[in-house]
Symmetry: C2
Subunit: 155 residues, 2 copies
Amino acid sequence: MAHEVHNGAENGGAKAVSFSAFKPQLFVQAPKAADAVQFYKAAFGAEEVSRTMHPKRKAEQDQPLVLSAELKLCSSIFSVSDISDESSSLGAGFAFCLETDDVEAAIGKALAAGAVAEGEVTEGEGAVPVSKVKDPYGFVWMFCSSAKSCGDAEA
Amino acid sequence: MAHEVHNGAENGGAKAVSFSAFKPQLFVQAPKAADAVQFYKAAFGAEEVSRTMHPKRKAEQDQPLVLSAELKLCSSIFSVSDISDESSSLGAGFAFCLETDDVEAAIGKALAAGAVAEGEVTEGEGAVPVSKVKDPYGFVWMFCSSAKSCGDAEA
Protein backbone atom coordinates (compact mmCIF):
# COMPACT_ATOMS: atom_id res chain seq x y z
CA MET A 1 0.00 0.00 0.00
CA ALA A 2 1.45 3.36 -1.00
CA HIS A 3 2.36 5.96 1.54
CA GLU A 4 2.33 9.66 0.88
CA VAL A 5 5.03 11.06 3.07
CA HIS A 6 5.41 14.80 3.29
CA ASN A 7 8.48 16.48 4.51
CA GLY A 8 7.81 19.01 7.24
CA ALA A 9 10.38 21.43 5.84
CA GLU A 10 8.58 21.56 2.50
CA ASN A 11 5.33 22.42 4.21
CA GLY A 12 6.51 25.43 6.16
CA GLY A 13 7.40 23.30 9.14
CA ALA A 14 3.99 21.65 9.37
CA LYS A 15 4.04 18.19 10.92
CA ALA A 16 4.46 15.42 8.35
CA VAL A 17 1.26 13.46 7.78
CA SER A 18 1.04 10.23 5.85
CA PHE A 19 -2.05 8.37 4.73
CA SER A 20 -2.22 4.62 4.27
CA ALA A 21 -5.62 4.45 2.56
CA PHE A 22 -8.16 6.60 0.77
CA LYS A 23 -11.66 5.13 0.62
CA PRO A 24 -14.92 6.58 -0.56
CA GLN A 25 -17.65 5.79 1.96
CA LEU A 26 -21.32 5.68 0.99
CA PHE A 27 -24.06 6.08 3.57
CA VAL A 28 -27.49 4.70 2.77
CA GLN A 29 -30.73 4.94 4.68
CA ALA A 30 -30.87 2.01 7.12
CA PRO A 31 -31.43 -0.88 6.62
CA LYS A 32 -30.70 -0.69 2.89
CA ALA A 33 -26.92 -1.15 3.04
CA ALA A 34 -27.16 -4.93 2.57
CA ASP A 35 -29.29 -4.37 -0.54
CA ALA A 36 -26.87 -1.73 -1.78
CA VAL A 37 -23.95 -4.16 -1.47
CA GLN A 38 -25.94 -6.69 -3.48
CA PHE A 39 -26.66 -4.05 -6.10
CA TYR A 40 -22.99 -3.04 -6.46
CA LYS A 41 -22.06 -6.69 -6.90
CA ALA A 42 -24.72 -7.24 -9.56
CA ALA A 43 -24.33 -3.95 -11.39
CA PHE A 44 -20.56 -3.49 -11.37
CA GLY A 45 -19.11 -6.83 -10.30
CA ALA A 46 -17.83 -5.40 -7.01
CA GLU A 47 -16.37 -7.97 -4.62
CA GLU A 48 -17.26 -7.87 -0.95
CA VAL A 49 -14.03 -7.76 1.07
CA SER A 50 -15.50 -7.53 4.57
CA ARG A 51 -18.66 -6.69 6.44
CA THR A 52 -18.94 -5.38 9.99
CA MET A 53 -22.38 -5.33 11.55
CA HIS A 54 -23.51 -2.72 14.04
CA PRO A 55 -23.21 -4.16 17.54
CA LYS A 56 -26.54 -2.76 18.72
CA ARG A 57 -30.06 -3.25 17.43
CA LYS A 58 -32.71 -0.74 18.32
CA ALA A 59 -35.27 -3.47 18.93
CA GLU A 60 -35.51 -7.24 18.61
CA GLN A 61 -37.54 -7.04 15.43
CA ASP A 62 -35.08 -4.69 13.73
CA GLN A 63 -32.66 -6.02 11.16
CA PRO A 64 -29.05 -5.73 12.30
CA LEU A 65 -27.47 -2.74 10.58
CA VAL A 66 -24.33 -2.73 8.47
CA LEU A 67 -21.69 -0.58 10.15
CA SER A 68 -19.36 -0.91 7.17
CA ALA A 69 -19.24 -3.28 4.22
CA GLU A 70 -16.06 -2.95 2.17
CA LEU A 71 -16.26 -3.54 -1.56
CA LYS A 72 -13.45 -3.88 -4.05
CA LEU A 73 -13.82 -2.50 -7.55
CA CYS A 74 -10.84 -2.21 -9.94
CA SER A 75 -8.37 -2.61 -7.08
CA SER A 76 -10.00 0.30 -5.23
CA ILE A 77 -11.94 -0.09 -2.01
CA PHE A 78 -15.15 1.73 -1.14
CA SER A 79 -17.50 1.09 1.73
CA VAL A 80 -21.22 1.12 2.30
CA SER A 81 -22.81 1.82 5.68
CA ASP A 82 -26.32 1.96 7.06
CA ILE A 83 -27.16 5.32 8.48
CA SER A 84 -30.17 5.92 10.67
CA ASP A 85 -32.05 9.18 11.10
CA GLU A 86 -30.35 9.93 14.39
CA SER A 87 -26.87 9.58 12.92
CA SER A 88 -27.50 11.27 9.59
CA SER A 89 -25.42 14.35 10.31
CA LEU A 90 -23.37 13.43 7.25
CA GLY A 91 -26.13 14.79 5.08
CA ALA A 92 -24.85 14.15 1.61
CA GLY A 93 -24.54 10.41 2.18
CA PHE A 94 -20.96 10.42 1.13
CA ALA A 95 -17.51 10.96 2.62
CA PHE A 96 -13.91 10.14 1.91
CA CYS A 97 -12.14 8.13 4.58
CA LEU A 98 -8.41 8.71 4.98
CA GLU A 99 -6.49 6.27 7.13
CA THR A 100 -3.48 7.59 8.99
CA ASP A 101 -1.30 6.80 11.96
CA ASP A 102 -1.73 10.34 13.26
CA VAL A 103 -5.35 11.43 13.11
CA GLU A 104 -4.70 14.54 15.19
CA ALA A 105 -1.93 15.84 12.93
CA ALA A 106 -4.00 15.07 9.83
CA ILE A 107 -6.95 17.03 11.19
CA GLY A 108 -4.66 19.90 12.17
CA LYS A 109 -3.22 20.09 8.67
CA ALA A 110 -6.68 19.98 7.05
CA LEU A 111 -7.99 22.71 9.35
CA ALA A 112 -4.92 24.85 8.66
CA ALA A 113 -5.61 24.51 4.94
CA GLY A 114 -9.17 25.76 5.38
CA ALA A 115 -11.36 22.78 6.26
CA VAL A 116 -13.95 23.08 9.04
CA ALA A 117 -14.26 20.53 11.85
CA GLU A 118 -17.42 18.44 11.79
CA GLY A 119 -17.72 17.34 15.42
CA GLU A 120 -14.98 16.40 17.83
CA VAL A 121 -12.87 13.26 17.75
CA THR A 122 -15.33 10.55 18.69
CA GLU A 123 -15.04 6.92 19.55
CA GLY A 124 -16.01 4.66 16.68
CA GLU A 125 -16.06 0.88 16.46
CA GLY A 126 -13.78 -0.64 19.06
CA ALA A 127 -12.81 2.80 20.44
CA VAL A 128 -10.94 3.72 17.25
CA PRO A 129 -10.56 7.49 16.99
CA VAL A 130 -12.58 8.82 14.07
CA SER A 131 -13.15 12.41 13.17
CA LYS A 132 -14.26 14.40 10.19
CA VAL A 133 -13.92 17.75 8.50
CA LYS A 134 -15.82 19.48 5.73
CA ASP A 135 -13.68 21.02 3.02
CA PRO A 136 -14.44 24.49 1.56
CA TYR A 137 -16.24 22.81 -1.36
CA GLY A 138 -18.72 20.91 0.79
CA PHE A 139 -17.12 17.46 0.79
CA VAL A 140 -16.68 15.53 4.02
CA TRP A 141 -13.37 13.83 4.87
CA MET A 142 -13.16 11.33 7.73
CA PHE A 143 -9.86 10.50 9.40
CA CYS A 144 -9.43 7.04 10.80
CA SER A 145 -6.60 5.35 12.61
CA SER A 146 -4.77 2.94 10.30
CA ALA A 147 -4.85 0.20 12.91
CA LYS A 148 -8.35 -1.20 12.53
CA SER A 149 -10.65 1.45 11.19
CA CYS A 150 -13.16 1.93 8.42
CA GLY A 151 -13.56 -1.86 8.44
CA ASP A 152 -10.23 -2.31 6.68
CA ALA A 153 -9.70 -6.03 6.22
CA GLU A 154 -6.15 -5.50 5.03
CA ALA A 155 -4.97 -3.65 8.14
CA MET B 1 -4.15 -1.87 -13.63
CA ALA B 2 -6.52 -4.51 -12.33
CA HIS B 3 -9.35 -5.84 -14.43
CA GLU B 4 -12.52 -7.25 -13.00
CA VAL B 5 -13.63 -9.85 -15.49
CA HIS B 6 -17.00 -11.45 -15.01
CA ASN B 7 -17.95 -14.66 -16.63
CA GLY B 8 -21.19 -14.42 -18.55
CA ALA B 9 -22.32 -17.84 -17.38
CA GLU B 10 -22.05 -16.81 -13.75
CA ASN B 11 -24.22 -13.78 -14.36
CA GLY B 12 -27.16 -15.53 -15.91
CA GLY B 13 -25.79 -15.08 -19.41
CA ALA B 14 -25.32 -11.31 -19.08
CA LYS B 15 -22.55 -9.89 -21.22
CA ALA B 16 -19.19 -9.81 -19.44
CA VAL B 17 -18.17 -6.29 -18.45
CA SER B 18 -14.76 -5.32 -17.18
CA PHE B 19 -13.67 -2.03 -15.68
CA SER B 20 -10.16 -0.66 -15.91
CA ALA B 21 -10.55 2.19 -13.42
CA PHE B 22 -12.79 3.42 -10.63
CA LYS B 23 -12.43 7.12 -9.84
CA PRO B 24 -14.40 9.38 -7.56
CA GLN B 25 -15.17 12.62 -9.36
CA LEU B 26 -15.89 15.85 -7.46
CA PHE B 27 -17.76 18.71 -9.08
CA VAL B 28 -17.31 22.18 -7.65
CA GLN B 29 -18.99 25.43 -8.53
CA ALA B 30 -17.03 27.07 -11.37
CA PRO B 31 -14.40 28.50 -11.29
CA LYS B 32 -13.34 27.04 -7.93
CA ALA B 33 -11.84 23.77 -9.20
CA ALA B 34 -8.33 25.23 -9.40
CA ASP B 35 -8.63 26.39 -5.78
CA ALA B 36 -10.00 23.01 -4.77
CA VAL B 37 -7.00 21.25 -6.32
CA GLN B 38 -4.72 23.58 -4.36
CA PHE B 39 -6.65 22.81 -1.19
CA TYR B 40 -6.39 19.02 -1.65
CA LYS B 41 -2.64 19.37 -2.19
CA ALA B 42 -2.21 21.51 0.94
CA ALA B 43 -4.61 19.62 3.19
CA PHE B 44 -3.93 16.02 2.22
CA GLY B 45 -0.73 16.07 0.20
CA ALA B 46 -2.54 15.01 -2.97
CA GLU B 47 -0.40 15.04 -6.12
CA GLU B 48 -1.75 16.52 -9.32
CA VAL B 49 -1.46 13.93 -12.08
CA SER B 50 -3.03 15.86 -14.93
CA ARG B 51 -5.26 18.82 -15.69
CA THR B 52 -7.49 19.31 -18.69
CA MET B 53 -8.96 22.75 -19.24
CA HIS B 54 -12.37 23.34 -20.77
CA PRO B 55 -11.89 24.24 -24.44
CA LYS B 56 -14.47 27.04 -24.38
CA ARG B 57 -14.73 30.19 -22.30
CA LYS B 58 -18.06 31.91 -21.95
CA ALA B 59 -16.50 35.34 -22.33
CA GLU B 60 -13.02 36.83 -22.69
CA GLN B 61 -12.97 38.01 -19.08
CA ASP B 62 -13.93 34.58 -17.72
CA GLN B 63 -11.29 32.33 -16.21
CA PRO B 64 -10.78 29.14 -18.20
CA LEU B 65 -12.60 26.29 -16.44
CA VAL B 66 -11.11 23.00 -15.31
CA LEU B 67 -12.73 20.14 -17.21
CA SER B 68 -10.94 17.56 -15.10
CA ALA B 69 -7.94 17.71 -12.78
CA GLU B 70 -6.75 14.31 -11.64
CA LEU B 71 -5.26 13.97 -8.19
CA LYS B 72 -3.43 11.03 -6.67
CA LEU B 73 -3.86 10.23 -3.00
CA CYS B 74 -2.61 6.93 -1.49
CA SER B 75 -2.27 5.35 -4.94
CA SER B 76 -5.92 6.18 -5.68
CA ILE B 77 -7.02 8.71 -8.26
CA PHE B 78 -9.86 11.17 -7.89
CA SER B 79 -10.74 14.10 -10.07
CA VAL B 80 -12.04 17.62 -9.60
CA SER B 81 -14.06 19.47 -12.23
CA ASP B 82 -15.61 22.90 -12.54
CA ILE B 83 -19.33 22.76 -13.00
CA SER B 84 -21.36 25.73 -14.14
CA ASP B 85 -25.00 26.41 -13.42
CA GLU B 86 -26.06 25.21 -16.86
CA SER B 87 -24.32 21.87 -16.45
CA SER B 88 -25.14 21.21 -12.81
CA SER B 89 -27.56 18.35 -13.48
CA LEU B 90 -25.29 16.20 -11.31
CA GLY B 91 -26.76 17.87 -8.26
CA ALA B 92 -24.86 16.19 -5.46
CA GLY B 93 -21.53 17.35 -6.83
CA PHE B 94 -20.16 13.86 -6.79
CA ALA B 95 -20.04 10.81 -9.03
CA PHE B 96 -18.03 7.66 -9.48
CA CYS B 97 -16.39 7.26 -12.85
CA LEU B 98 -15.94 3.72 -14.14
CA GLU B 99 -13.72 3.22 -17.16
CA THR B 100 -14.54 0.37 -19.48
CA ASP B 101 -13.97 -0.80 -23.03
CA ASP B 102 -17.69 -1.40 -23.44
CA VAL B 103 -19.72 1.51 -22.11
CA GLU B 104 -22.93 0.21 -23.67
CA ALA B 105 -22.70 -3.22 -22.02
CA ALA B 106 -21.77 -1.65 -18.69
CA ILE B 107 -24.81 0.63 -18.80
CA GLY B 108 -27.01 -2.29 -19.80
CA LYS B 109 -25.83 -4.33 -16.85
CA ALA B 110 -26.32 -1.45 -14.41
CA LEU B 111 -29.83 -0.75 -15.70
CA ALA B 112 -30.69 -4.45 -15.48
CA ALA B 113 -29.57 -4.42 -11.84
CA GLY B 114 -31.89 -1.51 -11.05
CA ALA B 115 -30.05 1.71 -11.87
CA VAL B 116 -31.84 4.51 -13.73
CA ALA B 117 -30.35 6.24 -16.78
CA GLU B 118 -29.35 9.87 -16.26
CA GLY B 119 -29.44 11.23 -19.78
CA GLU B 120 -28.41 9.56 -23.00
CA VAL B 121 -24.90 8.73 -24.09
CA THR B 122 -23.42 12.14 -24.80
CA GLU B 123 -20.25 13.33 -26.40
CA GLY B 124 -17.68 14.41 -23.85
CA GLU B 125 -14.19 15.73 -24.35
CA GLY B 126 -12.80 14.71 -27.73
CA ALA B 127 -16.01 12.85 -28.64
CA VAL B 128 -15.43 10.21 -25.95
CA PRO B 129 -18.68 8.45 -25.11
CA VAL B 130 -19.74 9.26 -21.57
CA SER B 131 -22.94 8.29 -19.88
CA LYS B 132 -24.28 8.07 -16.39
CA VAL B 133 -26.79 6.26 -14.24
CA LYS B 134 -28.20 6.87 -10.78
CA ASP B 135 -28.25 3.84 -8.52
CA PRO B 136 -31.24 3.03 -6.26
CA TYR B 137 -29.44 4.71 -3.34
CA GLY B 138 -29.02 8.07 -5.06
CA PHE B 139 -25.37 7.81 -6.15
CA VAL B 140 -24.36 8.71 -9.70
CA TRP B 141 -22.06 6.45 -11.72
CA MET B 142 -20.49 7.66 -14.95
CA PHE B 143 -19.19 5.26 -17.58
CA CYS B 144 -16.28 6.35 -19.70
CA SER B 145 -14.38 4.70 -22.47
CA SER B 146 -11.02 3.42 -21.24
CA ALA B 147 -9.21 4.97 -24.19
CA LYS B 148 -8.90 8.62 -23.17
CA SER B 149 -11.63 9.45 -20.75
CA CYS B 150 -12.09 11.14 -17.41
CA GLY B 151 -8.75 12.86 -18.03
CA ASP B 152 -6.87 9.62 -17.37
CA ALA B 153 -3.18 10.36 -17.81
CA GLU B 154 -2.26 6.70 -17.44
CA ALA B 155 -4.46 5.48 -20.31
